[in-house]
């Protein structure tokens, strides 16, 4: 089997039924909105363009590179789709990818599909869009904004989506919050680097060879405010919620003791854990996680500050 499952697809049986249904409803609303938006933007080109690009993202998830000692990094693609085609089209593409993975390849459950759609087709594009646009605006259309923006957007889309998975597992009583958040967040802070690097590589290739294609994802006046606000809120909410939920000192101590065991045990499902990063030293794991969360907030603060200053200068 060439097709390898990505680590963030929740199977059936892990989520409580009310939560699954609530997430189904949210996902359906967002998907319905984006279907309408994409139909307006692309018109009759919608079916071929979306269909082929969904197949491309699906196939692109097969691309991988070796990191070290049998572990490898690979692509989820939500950020890449968002950067290249805009958030609404990305929602639609990821919906098709995640939906077919669940229906045909049992990668993620059917009842849990609502949650998986929420994590990968809603959170992914919604979080990466404001970040990417932010850097683009900050750099006033210069090259570095595109590159830095695509790396950070891709990293954040993975990291925040993993926090969403942890939150869902914790709310369902399947995995206690004080373990789920640091474990999922910590592992995906690393996986996100792989995603970021591949996304960066893809965007820089397209920048060099077909710069006109990067224009496709340019801002659309209508409805993008919703994504700006929604995406930023989602990111901040999850980034703030997770340390709060796991701030229970007993829980943190427990994870510290267990970190080595957990990371080693999850190797088959999480493929980008270089062994040397987690030598079983408890505080280092914690440091990674806390650094990840602090980093997100710091980057957000700095960008906000710079953007504010720039705006004042131009005004």
């Amino acid at each position: 089997m060439l097709y390898s499952p990505a680590p963030m697809h929740i199977p059936d049986g892990f989520l409580s039924v009310p939560l699954s249904i609530a997430l189904w409803i949210i996902s359906i609303v967002v998907i319905a909105l984006s279907t309408r938006r994409v139909s307006q933007d692309l018109g009759e080109r919608e079916v071929p363009v979306m269909g082929v690009l969904a197949a491309a993202i699906f196939a692109g998830q097969m691309l991988n590179f070796t990191v070290t000692g049998g572990t490898s990094g690979h692509l989820m693609g939500a950020a890449l789709a968002t950067i290249l085609l805009g958030p609404w089209a990305a929602v639609l593409i990821m919906t098709c990818v995640v939906g077919v993975q669940a229906l045909i390849f049992q990668d993620g459950g059917l009842l849990a599909l609502g949650a998986n759609l929420f994590n990968m087709a809603v959170v992914g594009p919604f979080v990466s869009y404001p970040i990417y646009r932010f850097f683009q605006r900050m750099s006033t259309g210069q090259k570095w904004g595109v590159f830095v923006g695509s790396f950070i957007a891709a990293w954040t889309s993975i990291f925040i989506a993993s926090l969403a998975v942890a939150l869902q597992l914790a709310l369902s009583g399947t995995s206690p919050a004080n373990i789920a958040f640091p474990a999922m967040g910590g592992i995906h802070a690393l996986i996100g680097i792989g995603e970021g690097l591949i996304t960066l590589g893809a965007v820089s290739l397209i920048y060099a060879s077909r710069r006109d294609l990067l224009k496709l994802g340019e801002p659309q006046p209508k409805g993008s405010t919703l994504i700006w606000i929604g995406g930023t809120l989602l990111a901040i909410l999850l980034a703030v919620l997770s340390p709060l939920a796991s701030s229970n000192p007993d829980g943190l101590e427990w994870v510290a003791e267990q970190a080595g065991f957990l990371e080693r045990a999850s190797e088959p499902s999480f493929t980008i854990i270089p062994d040397y990063i987690f030598p079983g030293i408890p505080n280092e794991t914690l440091a990674t996680i806390i650094a990840g969360i602090l980093g997100t907030l710091l980057v957000l603060g700095v960008t906000l500050g710079i953007a504010y200053l720039r705006r004042q200068k131009t005004a």
Binding site: L2, I10, P11, D12, G13, F14, L15, V17, I31, T35, S39, E44, E46, V47, P48, V49, G51, V52, L53, A54, A55, A56, F58, A59, G60, M62, L63, F65, L80, L84, T95, C96, G99, A102, L103, I104, F105, Q106, G109, L110, L111, L169, S175, P176, I179, A180, M184, G194, L197, I198, T199, G201, A202, S204, I206, S209, W254, A265, P268, S269
Partner: protein, 265 residues
């Protein structure tokens, strides 16, 4: 190398294969919903649902080992539920180093979650391996998915194999370029960042090729009279007997959930 083996559909002529997809898909979803609604520790109900599932698997003519092998796919995720073993309060069963304890409610919850996942994933495998893709599209239409979305998914499936083949060719090309000398003094492979950049270039290339392909497909569709309107053939009718069987199964699922909730609620 071609990616046709990606399609999980296994053609047979069993009753499960013949069941109309518009009934099969909702039945599988109802089965998974039923499994999810059984309370933690409702063992007799888990056994009953497993028995139903195994009967359907035998009836499908594909053999139980096939399902067990495919179901192993969902196993890694069970690790996410592992901490629950130690965090529930209750009767202590085993005491481990680091002050960890395994409690009876923890074990009960863990086994229940793992069982539910295992039963559900097999039901989904049963559906995917006995239903050809066009019929799944038919079922999605019957479930009132927007026409546009159904068409996009249909087109995606059609070109998935083409594009996967393209991806495999790119990966073969990369492998062919990545020689490695048996002499360890020759450096090979480059840094992790370089490797990531190469892979990123492949992803970007794939994207460019795909968007160009979608352009050609669009023009081919236009020249065949595509006007933006999505037309489907009318849905064929469902045999009467299959309808009745499905109604009986739906009602019994409902009763099972009610019974389980009353007895274990």
């Amino acid at each position: 190398m071609h990616a046709h083996f990606l399609d999980p559909y296994k053609p047979r002529s069993s009753p499960i294969h013949q069941l109309d997809a518009r009934l099969k898909v909702p039945l599988v979803i109802a089965f998974i919903l039923t499994t999810s609604l059984i309370p933690i520790g409702g063992w007799p109900f888990y056994i009953f649902l497993t028995a139903v599932l195994l009967s359907a698997e035998i009836l499908s003519d594909l053999g139980i080992p096939f399902f067990f092998k495919r179901a192993a796919l969902a196993l890694p995720f069970v690790l996410a539920a592992l901490p629950v073993l130690f965090t529930q309060t209750g009767n202590v069963w085993v005491t481990l180093p680091f002050g960890l304890t395994i409690t009876a409610p923890g074990v009960e919850r863990f086994i229940s979650v793992a069982l539910k996942a295992w039963i559900s994933v097999q039901a989904a495998i049963l559906m995917a391996s006995t239903t050809p893709f066009p019929e799944i599209l038919l079922a999605l239409r019957a479930l009132r998915l927007p026409k546009v979305l159904v068409s996009i998914i249909g087109l995606m499936w059609r070109y998935l194999f083409v594009i996967v083949d393209e991806t495999i060719r790119m990966m073969n090309a990369r492998n062919a370029r990545s020689g490695e000398s048996p002499n360890p003094s020759y450096k090979h492979g480059g840094s992790v960042f370089w490797r990531a950049k190469v892979t990123g270039g492949m992803a970007g290339n794939l994207f460019i090729r795909s968007i160009e392909r979608s352009d050609r497909i669009y023009h081919a569709m236009l020249s065949r009279g595509y006007d933006g309107e999505i037309r489907h053939l009318p849905l064929p009718s469902i045999p009467e007997i299959q309808r009745w069987i499905s109604v009986v199964v739906f009602v019994s699922f409902f009763l099972i959930v009610v019974l389980a909730r009353v007895l274990w609620g």
